[in-house]
Structures are given as C-alpha cells and as structure tokens.
Symmetry: C2
C-alpha cells in the first residue's frame, strides 16, 4: 500500500496557509516520523519556495520512511517535453518520484487547456516517457477524473492508458471538484476496466465524504492513496491522512504504516497545525483534543464502569487521551470524575461537590468554560474542599497604558500595586502589548519573593470573543497556557474587558504554578 | 423519507454548547425553515431547560414543516412504566412524537444498566406500549446498535423486534461510539434481516465517515435518518444535516426537503452557529464560507472561462457563493479576478496589478490576510489605481488606559488627537474595554464633521493570535465587521499590540464606510 502525502502541495491550497521553505522542511520531517511512504514537497519551478525546499531538502532532510516527490504538469501544448522549462525544473528537483498532473476531462482539455484530445494524450505520453527515461518513478494525477469519466468515459480511459503505456507507475483518480460519494467511487472503478493495481485515489471533501471515498477505493483494491495532514486543502479540504490511515489500520486491519508510527498521530497532527498556523480542529476524528472527550452526564457515570465501552478505539493507540468535560450538562458525575482525574476526592464530600457543581453552572452562564482550563478548575475545587491554594499576592490595583505617539511609536506600559507577604510593592514594566506589559510588571513585583517565577513561560495566549453579543461590547474569554519547562497548565479568565479577563487568567496561572513549584518558596 | 434533526438534544453534547430555552426556540424555528420533518427538542424532566422549552413551544413556536419530538429513556428497571416520573415527563411534554433511547448492546445492559437481557426487553416493550396507547408516535433509538450487533446479533435483533412489536414506528440504529465505515453499515443492514422500512440511522463522526455512513444506510433503503446542524455533537460530532441532505438531493436525486428549503442552508447553518456560540466552520462542505472558495492561481485563470467546471454544484442552490481568495499563491490572475468582483478594473492596469500583488505578498509575510477583509483590500487596490479613498482624518496620537482600581472597578478610557478638515480635535471617551473606548473616542472626535457615523455599528470583532510565536509576544490579527444598517464590510489590522491592530482595522472601517455613505458629507 502506498501512503502518499500532499500536505505540502495540495494542502497548501487551504485558505490561510502559506508555508516557508523552513516550514516545509519541518512538516516533511514530521510526516516521515508518522511513517508515510511519499511526501509531495511542492511544485519546483512554479513557486520559488518550493524550488528552495527541494534544493535544501537534499542536504538538510534525512528521511527514514518516505521518499520525496516533486509535483508538476505535463509539458505545454506547444513545446517538446525536453524543451519545457517546467519539466526541466522537475528534473532539477532531483527527487526519486515525480507526480504529473494531467487533464482527464475532455471539457477541461478544450476549455481550460485550449488544445485537442490527441495533443493532450501526446503531452501525457511525452512527459511521462522523458521522466521515466531519466530514471524517475512517475505518478500521474488525473485531474477531474470522475467528472471526466462521467462526461466521456472513453476519453478518460485513453488518458489512463497513455500514462501507463509511457511507463507511469500509478495513475491517480482525482476527484478534483470533490463531488463524489463512496458508492459512486466503487461503481466508477468497476466500470473503468483498468487493472486496479495501477490506480491511485485522491479525494477532495466537498460532499464531506473524502475519507469514506478514499476507503471505498482501497476496499475496491486501489493500492495508492493521496491525503493531507488534518485534511488541509482547497475549499472543504482533502481526505484527512490521519483518519484514513487510522481507519485502514484499526477498522480494516491493514497495516499501512511502519510499526510504532500510528501512536505519533496526535503529536504530528498538532505540530503540523502549529507550523501551518491553523488552530487544531478540536473535533477532528482520532486526532482532535475532543475526539475522546465525554460530556454527557448519562454516559459519564457509566464510563467509570468500563471506559472501553464508550470509545470506538483505545485513544492511546493514536496517541490521544480520553477526557471528561466539566459542564452543566455533565452534572455531578462528570465533575466528580474530572476531580478524580486531578487527584481530588469529591466522592467523599457531597456538599463540596454540590457547591462546585453550582459554581460551574453559575460561571458558565457568564461565559466561563473550564473544559480546557484544568488548572483554574482545580483551584476552584480545592477552595471548595477547604484546601484553598494560598494566593501568592493580593492586588490593590493595576493600570495599563497603550500609546500611539506622534512619531508613530506604539508603547505599552503597566503598573501593578500588590501586597506580597506583608510588603506593598509597586512595579512598572513595558511590553509589546497591554497584556504582555501586565505580565511583565507582575513578574517584576513578585520575583523577589518568588524567584521560581523566572522559570515560568507563557506558552500560549488565546482570546475568544464570545458571540451572541455585539462587537467590542462582547464578553471576552482568555485562555493562558503556562509552562515551567517540565509541565504546562491552562487557566481561564472572562470579562467584558480583555485586559481584565487576561489578568484573571494570569493570576490563576501564577497561583497554580507557584503552588506546584519544586523550589521551596 | 424522514429527516429527523437532533441538534437541540444530541447536538448539545458538543463541547462548548449550552442552549437556553430561548436559544432552543430560535434554533427550532430555523430548522423548520430548512424543512426538516422532525425536531428533537431535548429531554423533558431530565433537564430544566428542556422542560421549559417544550412548555413554551406549545404557545410560542409555530412550525410549518416539522413536528416536535421529546427524547427520553425507557422506564427504569425497577419501576412500572406508568409509575416512572421520567416517562411521565415525556407525556407532559405533549409532543406528537417521543423518541426513546434503549440499550441494544448486551454488555451495556449488564455493565451500565446492571439488569438482565429479559428485563431490558420488558423495559422497551412496556414503555413503547404505554406511549403508543397515549397516542404518541414512537421512535426507538438503539444505543450502541452496531457494536452490540457485532457482539451478540441475536440479542440486538430481539431489542429491535420488541420495539416494533410494541408499536414503535421506527427503530433507529445508532452508531453511538462512531466507529463504523460505510461498507460495515451496508453489511450490517443486510445481515440484520429486519424490514428496512422500519429502520432509521444515527451516526457519530469518530471515523470521519458519519455523512457517508448515513448515506450508505439510505442507499440500502433506510427511510429515516437523524442528523444535527453543522454536525454538532459529542466528540467529533454527529452526521452533518446539511451535507447529508445536500448529498441526497443533489447527488442522488432524492427530494428529501420541501421545495425552496435547500437554498436556506447557508443562512440557517450560520444562524444556528451564532446561537450555539460556535464559530462557523469555514471549511464545512456546502455551507462553509470556504466551501466554494478558490485559491489556486492555476485554477483562477481557468475559472474565468467557466466557473461550473470548477464547482461540484452551483453554489447558489445551497445559498452559497463562489469566492476568489487573495493570496500569494493565487498570484496575479486571482487578484485581477477578485478586483473585478469588487468592480475595479486591474486588467487594463498591469503596473498597478503588479504593485498590488507585491504589496499583498509583502503584507502576508507579516501576518496580514485579505481573504476575509474585502474592504481593506479594496482600499489598497484603489490607492494603487490612483483612486485613493480620501482619508476622513489624520491621526496625531492616541492613548488608551485600562485601570483596575482599588475598589475593584475596571475602567477603560481613550483619548485621540486627530486632524479633521483642518481642525485639530481632541476627544476622550470611556468604553467597556480598550478597543471599545478607542472606537467611542474616535466617534466623538469625528461626528461633528461626519454625522453619518452615527449610523455605523460594529457588528463583529474577532481577534486571532497568530501561532508560531510565543504567548503575549505574538502577532495579533484583528478583523472588524461594520454595518450601516443596509450593508456590512470587513477590515483587517495586524500588529504585535492588539490595540494598535484594532486601530488599523477601525480606521479602515470608517474610511471605507464614509466613502460609500449615501449621506453627503
């Protein structure tokens, strides 16, 4: 089975993604760690970043499982293949594999390419032959394959045959417009009349069936599939590599990845999201942080009995975890279970459990959410259990100033007035934004008494404007992730003022971190 | 075909969703406008919000296409059906339809319910009989149907038979843990040996195949399917109502909705997202704002020739539009096409087109994105075409102060110093956050010269912390949507300081709006 990844080429078509060459090298390394067989790096010659990627990959990228593929087009209608600079750029990329896109829908040949059916076949034949003669393994991506096959089956078949006769290793059926359903894929492969061993499949997600369509092709015997990490791609995206691979391995018993790779999924998925600068999809199948998160109160009590009855697979086989969510709907059972997960026994304290449940309900109506903020939740539970975590300081007041000066400079400055162990401390600091300035000022004020603060780093800062209210009047929820180098924790703050919301989250973050700090304070 | 929606019950299990009774009434109205046949409103008796919803629905909700269903459980193991308060609450909801959840996996009967197979059958039989005798149409949701059928087919079959014999109209096969693939659904329905006319299907999305699984069941003859709007639901969610319905209507030619309803999709989908307080999934099939958005430079030039060759369906049939995205990868062809969409001719100005392309590339490397900010893009193109939009004022400086005072009050205040038509104006205003204060101060400063500003409202304000950098140091991108009552427009600002980023977006918003204002200024 050939697992072919095109995150770096077709995945880059997703709205919001712009990879640098360095990004591409990092993503390729991650894909290799996940164990894919082929990594399509981009279109050398057409995009300068991609040319640079292939040049640097030769020295900077050591792959354990995968080989690189360069993507490009068949020769231009007017040119000989060996005179086409785009074809030359493909050879210059020096990859073992070249993947060529070819037209296989007669309407696109005539309307977009503005050439004839015969010339299109010659373009496929000439380009594949040249690349094969130069020692390349060649895959041919037949664009608009299924639409073309429906419109004029014989023309589409002729393109497939031309590619195979010229020496292409696989011809890939691309559902470029993404309009197929699984039953249609199965039917088309049957009607095509070409040996399935020489075929591949590439699906877009416009019917929300890209994963199922890919699986349907593999079930029909197709031994090569093209996907992207997290389903990135144009419009609704491509078939998600992670869901396809997990389904094949875990549901159909096909070991498509090398041993030990599947459990890298969550790490690789989230790291690629970070590089692509796309917030991870929390609801993504298998890899999402909510993929095994249970909220229903009904189920939460039964999950205590046997977690495997409530998960379709063991989350650890894809490197994920089960989570219990703290929400109003979940009720007492989930809150108890969540607390147990954090090492706190609420089962023996029914009154504290009621107080926590009431408090969660009350705060949720005001926009708070503890689903992602375990540290803030733990501080609250401890307070209700009379194990209140000592607050490291008391706030008197703070003031934050942002100025856009006449010379165009933008400066942020914060002053905090706090009481620390009986001492009143006033500290001022600058930052590159209002929250950063506040964070800095608080650290200046506290570091004398809590030197371990120097080891804390703010890893992530998320702002969510809660919808349903209007514009800048809306309630703001801030999530802060803090790390001490060994572990990280997340806290939450909610307020109509983003600075005050951030303040709440920052204070919880320091309180939680200092209480758990190994340095005696 | 029975189109059964459970957005208000199972959809509410999604992380982050908490509906009020008023929210539920609004969502039910929207679902009815979309033409579904059944709306499951919630679990009366179990959740106070749901009891309130059904009570108010009787007077406040007039449905054109749908009937309401109340969801609940079969009677408790220890009680007679007519003595079970939960069953009584189902009758008190006074809905024409009641949907009962029943265990159909023997392991869940024994481990979660802690009763016997025989008692479980009696619970199903008694509860269905009672409800039917009270004049209700009854659907039975068989929880963990497919897992149970694999584990002990005869037990699962016996539950289905018990429900049908007691008078249930449909028995719904629920893939509760979401682990199925389409081929498995088709096979199980064949092996079940029950008349497909009495079956329904309910799929979770844990393999990323919920839509395909639902379609597979319908293709096998199942005439009842349960979905949620936008696929909301626990873990990766449920089958997305919109994709399932569009696939059935547009791909398989099954008219499952009343005429005129399908084109309400985008409006209904986005309105429900707003009520659920979930950012719409831009990449959702059919309904997402990117579902028909084209980025590839390669394609953008061909799209000019024939848009239908590049869309799997005409976007307008689901109430969506094709969009051309402005990005580096898209290149000159897309930028030209996008400008044409905005009524600006760049085709005749190749030098301006080059300057715009270069400027977009440069700004994108610094975190800007014009994909959603048409108004900021238009201001930039006009400037390069020497049709620069007159800036309504010049900034000298601004200053924003956020104070958390000793008494706990949090105040925000902004002062702007600007030049407007030769006059120097200094204005100060308060707001409930730093950006709101800045917006207010700017309005105070400008309203004398631009009274039409009073009609502008800030509709939406989005903050995105760009990943890849650390914590509060990160670059911030702000999108502002402004409306003048008739139309709305979106502008963008990027800066490491959230206040300055917001300032850029606010200034573009006013500049654009004033230039287009019908009031002579």
């Amino acid at each position: 089975m050939q697992v072919y990844d095109t995150t770096l080429r077709d995945g880059g078509q997703r709205e919001g993604i712009t990879y640098s060459a360095v990004d591409k090298l990092a993503v390729a390394k991650l894909l290799d760690e996940f164990g894919v067989g082929f990594i399509e790096g981009g279109w050398p010659g057409a995009l300068p970043t991609d040319t640079e990627f292939f040049r640097r990959a030769r020295n900077e990228l050591t792959l354990k499982h995968a080989v690189l593929a360069a993507f490009g087009s068949t020769r231009k209608a007017s040119l000989r293949a060996d005179a086409d600079p785009q074809v030359k750029a493909l050879l210059d990329a020096e990859t073992p594999v070249v993947t060529l896109v070819a037209k296989s829908d007669l309407r696109h040949v005539e309307k977009a390419l503005r050439t004839t059916a015969a010339e299109n076949l010659a373009m496929v034949h000439d380009t594949v032959s040249l690349l094969v003669a130069e020692g390349r393994r060649v895959f041919v991506d037949c664009e608009h394959f299924f639409d073309g096959f429906r419109f004029d089956p014989e023309f589409t078949r002729s393109v497939v045959r031309a590619a195979l006769e010229a020496g292409a290793e696989k011809v890939v059926m691309c559902d470029t417009n993404g309009g197929m359903l699984p039953s249609m894929i199965t039917r088309a492969i049957g009607e095509l009349g070409i040996d399935v061993d020489s075929l591949g499949i590439h699906c877009q997600n416009d019917t929300s069936c890209a994963v199922a369509n890919t699986i349907a092709a593999v079930e029909a015997g197709v031994p090569h599939f093209q996907c992207t990490a997290n389903g990135y791609g144009e419009r609704p995206g491509n078939a998600d590599l992670f869901a396809v691979v997990a389904n094949l391995q875990l549901k159909l018993g096909m070991p498509v990845l090398p041993e030990g790779c599947l459990e890298q999924m969550v790490r690789v998925s989230h790291a690629i999201a970070e590089i692509a600068n796309i917030a991870p999809d929390t609801h993504q199948a298998y890899a999402g942080s909510s993929a095994f998160a249970h909220k229903a109160g009904l189920h939460a009590s039964a999950i205590k009995v046997d977690p495997l009855l409530y998960n379709h697979v063991d989350p650890s086989v894809v490197g994920n975890d089960m989570r219990i969510l703290v929400t109003e709907m979940a009720g007492r059972a989930s809150i108890e279970l969540k607390s147990r997960e954090l090492g706190l026994d609420l089962a023996g304290h029914p009154e504290a459990l009621s107080r926590v449940t009431d408090r969660v309900k009350h705060l949720e109506t005001r926009g708070w959410s503890f689903e992602a903020a375990d540290a803030s939740f733990e501080l609250m539970v401890r307070a209700e259990l009379d194990q209140a975590t000592a607050r490291p300081f008391g706030l008197e007041s703070y003031r934050v100033l942002v100025e856009h000066r006449e010379d165009g400079a933008v400066v942020s400055e914060a002053t905090v007035k706090v009481r620390v162990r009986g001492e009143r401390v006033i500290a001022t600091a600058e930052g590159n934004g209002p929250v950063n300035a506040l964070d800095e000022a608080l650290r200046v004020a506290l570091t004398k008494h809590y030197p371990e603060l120097k080891g804390f780093e703010l890893n992530d800062y998320k702002v969510r404007i809660l919808e349903g209210s209007h514009g800048t009047d809306a309630v703001t929820r801030v999530l802060v992730e803090t790390s001490d180098g060994d572990r990280s924790w997340t806290t939450v703050g909610v307020h109509e003022n983003v600075v005050e919301a951030s303040w709440h989250a920052l204070v919880d973050a320091l309180t939680y971190g200092l209480a758990r700090s190994p340095v005696p304070s």
